[in-house]
Amino acid sequence: MMLSIKNLQAKIGKKQILNGIDLQVNAGEVHAIMGPNGSGKSTLASVLAGREDYEVTEGEVLFNGKNLFDFEPSDRAAEGIFLAFQYPVEIPGVSTINFMKTAVNKIRQYRGQSPLDAVAFLQLMKEKMKLVEIDQSLLSRSLNEGFSGGEKKRNEIFQMAMLEPKLSILDETDSGLDIDALKIVANGVNSLRSKNNATIVVTHYQRLLDYIVPDFVHVLYKGKIVKSGTKELAKELEAKGYDWIKNEAALV
């Protein structure tokens, strides 16, 4: 079991957002988490990555058997959790190359590996650039500064490729993308899939799941997973809308 979430509850300020989430993810699987706006999808992603604004009030998360909450955010990253941000942050004056070089070597240091020298790093970068069809000129520019929506998301997937995480969480990666950009991003994610890693795709729409085909689909509503199924569930949601789930949840 790679990730095991049990009765996870979390709040921001005084507002309770997650009300007991249970989720199990094995290596090699792709899970989609869907749900209407405000259901807690992004909160779940943020809590797993360790964003400070959220307070975990209840529950347990094990990542490869270790208590995730024992780790600082940067150590979680080094342990192999990657969050593709819904809104990637701009850092003026810091190029993506420099940013990734720092990250790769910090993570290597954490794992007791020697840092990559400039040549080895460049080689790795070139290899991954091909995978996500990203141009080097973009990577030399200040991180996300002045990037289009598509460029930002592609940059996230490039970083994912560089850091080779065990668990990738894609937070609304499809938002603001046109169909061509969506395909490129999805191709990148698919080519990174292996039996050793897992992916959680957080999305509002079924559209992305045409390209990143999930093994499991979970519907989040009011901070709880109210329905789980296969990719067919996503299709059903697309056809019937979220009201169907809301009504069903109201009956329970």
């Binding site: 990555a49 360790g50 964003r51 400070e52 600082e72 955010p73 940067s74 979680r76 990253a77 080094a78 990657f82 969050l83 941000f85 990637p88 942050v89 701009e90 850092i91 003026p92 004056g93 810091v94 420099n98 940013f99 990734m100 720092t102 990250a103 910090k106 993570i107 954490y110 200040s142 991180l143 970083q159 850091l163």
Partner: protein, 481 residues
């Protein structure tokens, strides 16, 4: 948020790295300042009468002047009679080569990260080293000499090139310019001199390292750089001082003179002892730096990375006299603990079609105060003058201050001036983004700060850029575990 504070706190606990002092038996003047001391210094240096007279004139003027109070810095009154105005490391005779330099001195420089012996083999940089006001070694003299470039200590220049010194000394920063310039003119003990002849591009970076070593000593060095028609030179200045409980005064003067088509690039990495984290000790850095773009199409560019000193009072300026001349000022000033910096520039546009550019990045942390003070003055005759200024401040923590005082004075209607200033903090979202990529908080802050200062750091010659980056991180960094 609490974590941020913790990190900041740990940053502030970083002690000054260059805080050691070397046991060099000093040859000192008695404490205090009088005509006799001025005469003593001049005699010590075997100076000609005209220079003694110049010093005495400066001293008499200084006595009548008042210490300026307009800067946004606060310090207890300096007792000018409690300072030693001359302190030379003892030397038995004049040196002919590095082999004769006191091995202790060479070690000093190696600790500073500048190995003079190394310099013999490297081709990048020629170094003049000044300890406690006296130039102790200049490298690469003969290589430069073949091109007609003069690069030597100021005292040596007085002996070997009196005609140049006499002509240009005080031509850009006159004795009367300000209180500290007058003081320097009276008591300056050494410094660097550089002359690049017509049409010569200096093939290597010229560099001076300054160090204050003796206690109770003031350092008053003087630098004069002349670039003749079509010449080019890039000059680096670095400085450190040992940790001491009392404040020490540093009042230097730098004069740059650029003739027609000449270009001078002057870079400083200032790392004087800033005082301890309670604000005790540290250097008072009151420096007058000015460049004159005398000839048409001349260019002077100042780049400074200011991380040290308890108090910095410094406005490297350009007088754009020649038509089409150009002035630039790139600055990063970092203050932490109780440091105070009041720094900026003046761009005085006199000639036609003159251009200037100002990029200032202030970073305040701890309980420090960081001020940008600048003036852009377009004189009546300066048609088609252009200026662009960008002054940004970054605040780290809620106990520091950032201030901008830009003066923009325009007397010619054809001028185009743009000035922008912003104030911000390091975003928590930026830190989290770095953390999520496995970069710890300390490294994240260093990364973001270096990114913020990049436009300025890019202006530094390669040899200095890496040092400056490390210094920036060090000034703000602690031992985050």
């Amino acid at each position: 948020m609490s974590k941020d504070n913790q990190v900041l706190e740990e940053f502030t606990s970083k002690e000054y790295e260059h805080g050691w002092n070397v046991n060099l038996e000093a040859d000192e003047a008695p404490k205090g300042l009088s005509e006799d001391i001025v005469r003593f210094i001049s005699a010590k240096k075997n100076e000609p009468t005209w220079l003694l007279d110049w010093r005495l004139k400066a001293f008499r003027l200084w006595e009548k002047m008042k210490e300026p109070t307009w800067a946004n810095v606060h310090y207890s009154k300096i007792n000018y009679q409690d300072i030693i105005y001359y302190s030379a490391p003892k030397q038995k005779k004049s040196l002919t080569g590095l082999d004769e330099v006191d091995p202790e001195l060479i070690k000093t420089f190696e600790k500073l990260g500048i190995s003079i012996t190394e310099q013999k083999r490297l081709t990048g940089v020629a170094v003049d080293a000044v300890i406690d006001s006296v130039s102790v070694a200049t490298t690469f003299k003969s290589t430069l000499g073949e091109l007609g470039i003069i690069f030597c200590s100021f005292s040596e220049a007085v002996k070997e090139h009196p005609e140049l010194i006499r002509k240009y000394l005080g031509s850009v920063v006159p004795i009367t310019d300000n209180y500290f310039a007058a003081l320097n003119s009276a008591v300056f003990s050494d410094g660097s001199f550089c002359y690049i002849p017509k049409g010569v591009r200096c093939p290597m970076e010229l560099s001076t390292y300054f160090r204050i070593n003796a206690a109770n000593t003031g350092q008053f060095e003087r630098t004069l750089i002349i670039a003749d028609e079509g010449a080019y030179v890039s000059y680096l200045e670095g400085c450190t001082a040992p940790m001491r409980d009392e404040n020490q005064l540093h009042a230097a003067v730098v004069e740059l003179y650029a003739m027609k088509d000449a270009e001078i690039k002057y870079s400083t990495v200032q790392n004087w002892y800033p005082g301890d984290k309670n604000g005790k000790g540290g250097i008072y850095n009151f420096v007058t730096k000015r460049g004159l773009c005398f000839g048409d199409h001349s260019k002077i560019s100042w780049t400074q990375v200011e991380t040290g000193s308890a108090i910095t009072w410094k406005y490297p300026s350009c007088i754009l006299k020649g038509d089409y001349s150009m002035g630039e000022f790139y600055s990063v000033a970092v203050t932490n603990n109780y440091q105070q910096a009041d720094t900026g520039t003046k761009m005085i546009h006199i000639g036609k079609n003159t251009k200037s550019r100002i990029v200032s990045k202030g970073i305040s942390a701890g309980k420090s105060q960081n001020s940008y003070r600048g003036q852009v003055h377009i004189m009546k005759r300066a048609s088609n003058a252009r200026n662009f200024s960008q002054c940004d401040s970054l605040l780290m923590g809620d106990q520091c201050g950032a201030h901008t005082f830009p003066y923009i004075d325009v007397e010619n209607q054809t001028a185009r001036i743009e000035h922008e200033a912003t104030t911000s903090k390091i975003g928590e979202d930026q830190i989290f983004y770095c953390l999520q990529r496995g970069i710890d908080e300390e490294a994240a802050v260093a990364l973001i700060v270096n990114g913020y200062a990049k436009e300025v750091l890019n202006q530094l010659p390669m040899e200095f850029a890496v040092e400056a980056q490390k210094l920036l991180a060090l000034t703000l960094e602690g031992s985050v575990g």
